[in-house]
Symmetry: C2
Subunit: 198 residues, 2 copies
């Protein structure tokens, strides 16, 4: 899906840019990209961080793998190729939301290093990669959505950790081990990194 | 591209919703969807309306056919099938931006009635369709991007108005004829509809 078919298009310069919007909001936004296995706690953490950001007056939005797959990426499956296209589109949407002034919290397994790297390069310096680390055993024990059980039974193919790979981040801005650390402690670590009082 | 491949996904309830964000911003956002031929004046109008909205403290964003085709929809061409997918994705992105609290201004030729109708149904009651009406002759005379010349020379295929159809809106909330009306007058008409003082 990388071929450019859109010839004959010309860039418009939008009258307003990100700086104008940040000035309007009185806030500087970032992108928090949560990556990790299913059940590692990405959405749980994002929801708690969002709460704190909102309390401080930041305009926030959570892009969630499960949610966006009902809409924009409803035509994509879970093969390596589809996952790549999934993350590519999500990267582009993240960029649009970020450019609109939103503090974006993105929760996707996003198992491939190269796919995450492409997003990082696309969106620039305000990209914060958060590795939500949790052992497969622990995730499988939680199995909040019952997906591991299905994957083990062979009812889901290409399931990350079972029948599809997860490539852990090597240079994530933040690493959180949810085996050992509770939600509050993990949220605190993120807020400290992004320099929010809490 | 309508087949749903994303099984095994579960809805997360985001902690915050649109009402929370509107409360934070102190503003109620809408979607202004500009449709019309290339060169009819969609982006010109949107940029001016955006300026006014921003002055009034609204957080705004322009989604532009030309811009988005470099990113999210860079893999799509101009066949009827690709145009449908183009508008489908843009509809989904519009919904996300709107849900994030943004006042979204969307400028796409969006030539097919059914495609626009699908977006209307997707995003709900705050959808305002603006038909930017302008004769083909006038648009071709302007030819701001030199595209009509190329299309007439057969260098661009599937060009709306020349070699691809445009289905005009039958129940647009606002119709503007840019043959007869100047920019300021047209902007005024839009601002009156959305009940902004100007």
């Amino acid at each position: 899906m990388s071929e450019k078919k859109s010839s004959n298009v010309v860039w418009h310069e939008n009258y307003l840019n990100l700086s104008d919007r940040r000035e309007l909001l009185g806030k500087k936004n970032k992108i928090l990209w949560f990556t990790g296995l299913s059940g590692s706690g990405k959405s749980t953490l994002a929801i708690e961080v969002q709460k704190k950001l909102h309390e401080k007056g930041f305009l926030t939005y959570i892009l969630d793998g499960d949610n966006i797959r009902h809409g924009l990426n409803g035509d994509l499956g879970f093969s390596a190729e589809d996952r790549k296209e999934n993350i590519r589109r999500i990267g582009e949407v993240t960029k649009l939301l970020y450019d609109a002034g939103i503090y974006v919290l993105v929760c996707f397994i996003s198992p491939y290093r190269a796919d995450r790297q492409r997003v990082r390069e696309l969106v620039g310096e305000d990209f914060v990669e958060i590795y939500v680390k949790c052992s497969l055993e622990k995730c499988e024990e939680r199995d909040t959505k019952g997906l591991y059980k299905k994957a083990r039974a062979g009812k889901i193919k290409d399931f990350t950790g079972i029948s599809a790979p997860y490539q852990n981040p090597e240079n994530a801005e933040i690493s959180i081990n949810t085996n050992n650390h509770g939600i509050l402690e993990s949220v605190k670590k993120i807020l400290e990194y992004i320099k929010l009082d809490f």
